[in-house]
Symmetry: C2
Subunit: 236 residues, 2 copies
């Protein structure tokens, strides 16, 4: 609920190249908020009154279709922007953002966006690069869903997750926040049943470790071979 200190901003990529005076000015209009696991920052269809930068924790961004199915658009990691509907030319949020673990985010009123972009080109540049990264990820998903069989799609989904949000550990790359089979299914465009069968097969082969909302990628390299089609799938 309080305005953040400049040192917090400085550690976030969008603000990394600003001077102390500039940071203070930007910090002055920000609000720091704590979201407990399960709380949402904003909902699909709401007026886009604020935009956010995540400081700590993880968010899951989802969309609901008109027929009630849900898809996971992305996971938001610390340092990333979200809720920037205005920059994308919208007045409402196209999706819902929810904290999957206790999270801290900075919020600015949406009408600060244009001013910040205009006055701080380095912010604009980083923001555009982040949007670009999301666009490329989206195209990768489209490509995968168009051309790959489920097992490879789930492979790429898991690998992307490991790369973007994973934590290196002695045994492998751990996804250190709760992720359900249903979530993975909604990311890969399949059902939780199919994800369950695939992960069980991979677990038996020692590629991954799974559990209730748990995921550990033990052999990313071999998983990549499967995802890229260089090695036969393990299902069935």
């Amino acid at each position: 609920m309080t305005a953040p200190d400049r040192s917090i901003l400085k550690a976030l990529p969008p603000f990394a190249r600003l001077t102390d005076a500039e940071l203070d000015e930007i910090a002055a209009t920000a609000t720091s908020r704590l979201y407990c696991a399960g709380m949402s920052l904003y909902g699909q269809g709401d007026d886009a009154e604020e935009f956010y930068v995540v400081v700590l924790g993880r968010l899951r961004v989802t969309q609901i279709t008109s027929t009630g199915e849900q898809i996971v658009v992305r996971v938001v990691n610390p340092g990333e922007l979200c809720g920037i509907a205005h920059a994308l030319g919208r007045t409402t949020y196209p999706a819902t953002a929810m904290a999957v673990v206790d999270s801290v985010a900075l919020a600015w009123p949406t009408d600060r966006w244009d001013d910040i972009v205009r006055r701080f080109p380095s912010f604009a540049q980083v923001a555009m690069g982040m949007i670009g990264g999301r666009l490329q990820e989206a195209h990768a998903r489209i490509r995968e869903m168009s051309t790959e069989v489920v097992e490879r799609r789930v492979g790429h989904t898991v690998l992307r997750l490991a790369q973007q949000s994973g934590k290196r550990e002695p045994e492998g790359i751990r996804i250190d926040f709760p992720i359900s089979k249903q979530d993975l299914a909604e990311m890969a465009g399949t059902t939780l049943h199919t994800v369950s069968r695939i992960l069980t097969a991979w677990e038996e082969a020692g590629l991954v470790g799974t559990g209730r909302q748990k995921l550990l990628v033990k052999e990313p390299h071999r998983l990549l071979l499967i995802a890229d089609g260089a090695e036969e799938g393990l299902l069935r």
Copy 2:
């Protein structure tokens, strides 16, 4: 091959709000190029040496996967940016852009991008909005591919095409550049066989008119009902 006149720039959304002096300055570093149908502006994997704004014609942007399958990323219409790999944080083009009809585009050296963005916030704002639109379209495709059966997916693909690149005519909305069944399949994530069957069924119902690389949407409203699942599909 020649530098363009400021009046040409002024008609393009990214430059619409600049002064004559600013336009002249931007025009000075631009090259106007004619691409005959079938020529490519750049290829997937090439160094991103230039970015473009299309003035006339249509481009088709495609990606080839490691296994040789192709997908259509998008169609580029006059007034739109393309080849902005640098802005998205890349050094190479992630896709190939090819003229589907004779087209004119303006080209700038990639290293002009940062300078233009920094000095002309209105350009930056329009550019970000365009990238945002692409991101939303990509998410719509992901949502459709995750949750919808083929016929509805093809419906949404055709409707998007009609909306973005169609031309109102007495009989309906015409796609006035060559578009093959294979192209539609690569946009909808299916095969040309399935697209052919679906369009034949729609044609028999009077929803569309089709032909070799031709497409006319006669009843967009009824097609929308099918695409949105409010009405039964016509296939089989």
